[in-house]
Each structure stands twice: as structure tokens, then as C-alpha cells.
Symmetry: C2
Subunit: 210 residues, 2 copies
DNA sequence: GGGTCTCTTGGACGCTTGTCAAGGAAAAGC
DNA sequence: GCTTTTCCTTGACAAGCGTCCAAGAGACCC
């Protein structure tokens, strides 16, 4: 076999691999949309297929089984989840800036992505019952914790203070705050996001000591 | 009809009502046990019946349908959930007492009732997708908030300080802390409860200003 | 343009689910 | 003790599930 042929074959097989991966991603996106709408408990493969442009049989061409699909979904979800506050941290010039912008960003994502967030909590909870996703879920949670840590650390730096609680605790507190706001928001309480935006700065101030 | 007869009939009908309610409670208890074990998504009526001493058909004698049963479960769950820290609040003589005992109690219930707690979070999350339980779930959450408020208010009183955040925020923070500890505990992390016990006092101190 | 390989469809399977009804067992009433 | 009422079991049902497969459609190479 000539080198040219080998290169060609590589290119083709790479293209196939990419196409395969792309379709997997596309189907996983449809699955995530369905999950966000119906929740884990009521999401079926047929329902997922119906939210895509394919028929239900194709799912078993791209995924070995349901767990494989859902695991892929969780991993794909991660990328959306985890880079949300980076630019805010980078852009803030003062502690007051960061406080305000971070609170506003949390409120904004609560309003805009409520269904995705409820899916996240659903999947995280599911991992308490099913071993299959647990590793991936914990990995995402770890990254979320890091994401919050960046905010808190930068905030402390700008405020010439230092974090007063471990980063795991800081994450737990802010996540609890957000989850409670999500609960209210999805229950129809109009002021839920505004309440979150008001609460975040005071909490942020309290978890750094200066 | 004589008065005696009326009294007798009342007594009998009351006894029947009580018996009916008792069996409903008994079946709901089996359902809760099953839910705590399998999670909402994988709990079926047949599975519930198998965890009781009856066959699956009886569930439709005591409950009109699955939603009726699960709603009853949620309500029944409430009573277990909500009185947990009352005696600690009553017994504490100093702020340091309360801090220590409350943290210890949280760690203890995390260790002892982890499966019940994961069920609670599962049901609360489910209510974000299904309207049916939402009202009951929100009511329980409101009571949990009050429960936490009692602790915080008493703590502030003993410390001659005042609560520095709204009670909804205090609840959100402590619940977030607990949930994160539950996550770690059920993932097999041995020190999760100990970590919670260590974190609670510092958080408690920070949400009252003195 | 015929043949090969990739991709997709739609139907079939075995199983589980919630629901229901017919009938037996047990208890209550007289 | 017989009848009536209450309670419980068993088996059936339609629907939905995850999974698999035969076969067609389409892309691609020579």
C-alpha cells in the first residue's frame, strides 16, 4: 500500500469517526432537550428520537444501550455547565464589580436555563441511586466546585481578604442558594431570580473574611 | 334509630375509617421504604407490594392510583422529616452547646438516614417536573425552613446577636451543605459526616452577626 | 453504473408497567 | 349459623419500554 493510499484511508476513516461523533453529539443534544423537558424518570428512547429528526432505531446504531447514551449526555452536559462565570471573573476590576456581576449572572442563568438546571439536579440525584453515572456526575460536581472557587478566590483577592471556608463549603452554600431559587422560580414565584441576586452578594461577603 | 344505635354505628364507622387509614399508612410506609431503596424512577407498584405483606392488587383498594399513593407518601414523609432538631434547640444552654449539638445531630442523621434523605431530594426534584406533588413538597420545604429558622433564631439569641440573612437564605445554605455531604457520604467518602460536622458551626456563626 | 459499505427505517420480540375486574377469604352483623 | 360486607388475591388487559434485526436507502469507490 502506498503512502498516498494510507493517507487517504486515514483521512476517510477520520472523517467517518468525526461524522460518527458528530451524530452522537447531535442525538445526545436531542436527548438532553428531552430530559430537560420530561425529567429522567419519564424520558424514553422513543421520546428522544421523536425530539430528533431520526427514528428510534438509530439510537442503537450510535449507542450500545440506554446507559451509554445517558452517560454520553452527562459528559456532554458538562461542557455547557462549567465555563459560565469565567469571563466575569476575568473582567471584574473591583470586589464590588465581581459581586454584582456574579449575582446578576446567576440570576440570569436561573431565568434563562431553568430547565437545564433542574435536569442537572435530577441527574445528580439519580446518581445517588444508580451507580452508572456516578463517576461522571461527581466529576462535573468537582468542576462546578472549582468554578465557584475561582469566583470566590478572585473575590477575596480583590477584597484584600482570604476565603474563610474550604472551597467545598463555599460551593455547597452557593449551590444550595441557587437550588432553592430554582425551586421557587419553577414554582412560579416571579421574584425568585431577583431574590437570588440580592442574596448572593451578602453570602459572598460572608464566606470571605477580611 | 335510638341514640345508642347511632353511637354504635358511629363507633364502628370510625373504627373502619381508622382501620382504613392505618392500612393506608402501612402501605405508604412500604412504599417509602421501596422509594428510598430504588428511587422514584424505578419504583413500581408491584415492587412496593413485594416490600409489604400484601399483593399488588390491594394498592388499588386503598389508593385510587399511583399518584394518590405517592402523594400520601410525601405527606407521611413530612412527619418524620420535620421535628428533628426541636429537642436540641430546647436543651441548649449556650450558643456553643447549640452549635455543637446541632452539627452533631446533622452528622448523625446523615449517617443513619442517608437513604431517606436521598429520597427527599429525589421527590423534591421530581416536583420540578410533575405538578402533582409540587404543593406538598413546597409545604414540606417550608416546614424544613422553619425548623432551621428555629435553630438559627435560638442560636442568635444565645449568642446575643441577630440573624444576618433572611431565614430562607439560612435554610438554603444549610440545606446545600447537607446535600453536598450526602452526595459524598453516598459516594463512599468516609469522612463526609465528619466534614459536615466540622463545617456547620462555622457556617452557623457566619449567618448571625454579632 | 454496478457493487460495497454506511446509515436509517420500521416493525417485531419479550418484558414490565398501571389499571381493573372477578372471585375467594375473612370478618361483622343479626 | 347464615348473610352481608369488607378485604385481599389472582389473573388479565392495553400500553409502553429497551432491544434487536431484516431490509431498504443512500453514499462512495473502482
Amino acid at each position: 500500500m502506498t503512502e498516498a493510499k494510507e493517507r487517504t484511508r486515514d483521512r476517510i476513516s477520520r472523517r467517518q469517526v468525526d461524522k460518527f461523533a458528530d451524530r452522537r453529539a447531535q442525538l445526545a443534544a436531542s436527548a438532553l432537550q428531552t430530559l430537560a423537558e420530561l425529567g429522567y424518570a419519564r424520558t424514553s428512547l422513543r421520546e428522544i428520537a421523536q425530539n430528533s429528526e431520526f427514528s428510534h432505531g438509530v439510537l442503537h446504531y450510535y449507542f450500545t444501550d440506554k446507559v451509554d447514551l445517558l452517560t454520553h449526555c452527562v459528559r456532554q452536559f458538562e461542557e455547557v455547565c462549567v465555563t459560565r462565570y469565567d469571563e466575569i471573573v476575568a473582567g471584574a476590576r473591583t470586589a464590588a464589580d465581581l459581586e454584582r456581576d456574579f449575582a446578576a449572572a446567576m440570576a440570569a442563568t436561573l431565568r434563562a436555563d431553568a430547565k437545564m438546571h433542574r435536569l442537572w439536579y435530577d441527574l445528580r440525584n439519580q446518581s445517588l441511586f444508580e451507580e452508572s453515572f456516578r463517576a461522571d456526575v461527581l466529576e462535573i460536581d468537582r468542576r462546578r466546585e472549582e468554578m465557584i472557587h475561582h469566583v470566590v478566590a478572585r473575590y477575596a483577592e480583590l477584597a484584600s481578604a482570604s476565603a474563610a471556608v474550604p472551597q467545598a463549603v463555599a460551593y455547597a452554600l452557593l449551590d444550595g442558594l441557587f437550588q432553592q431559587a430554582l425551586l421557587r422560580h419553577l414554582a412560579g414565584e416571579e421574584e425568585a431570580a431577583a431574590g437570588l441576586e440580592r442574596a448572593v452578594p451578602s453570602v459572598l461577603a460572608r464566606i470571605v473574611s477580611g
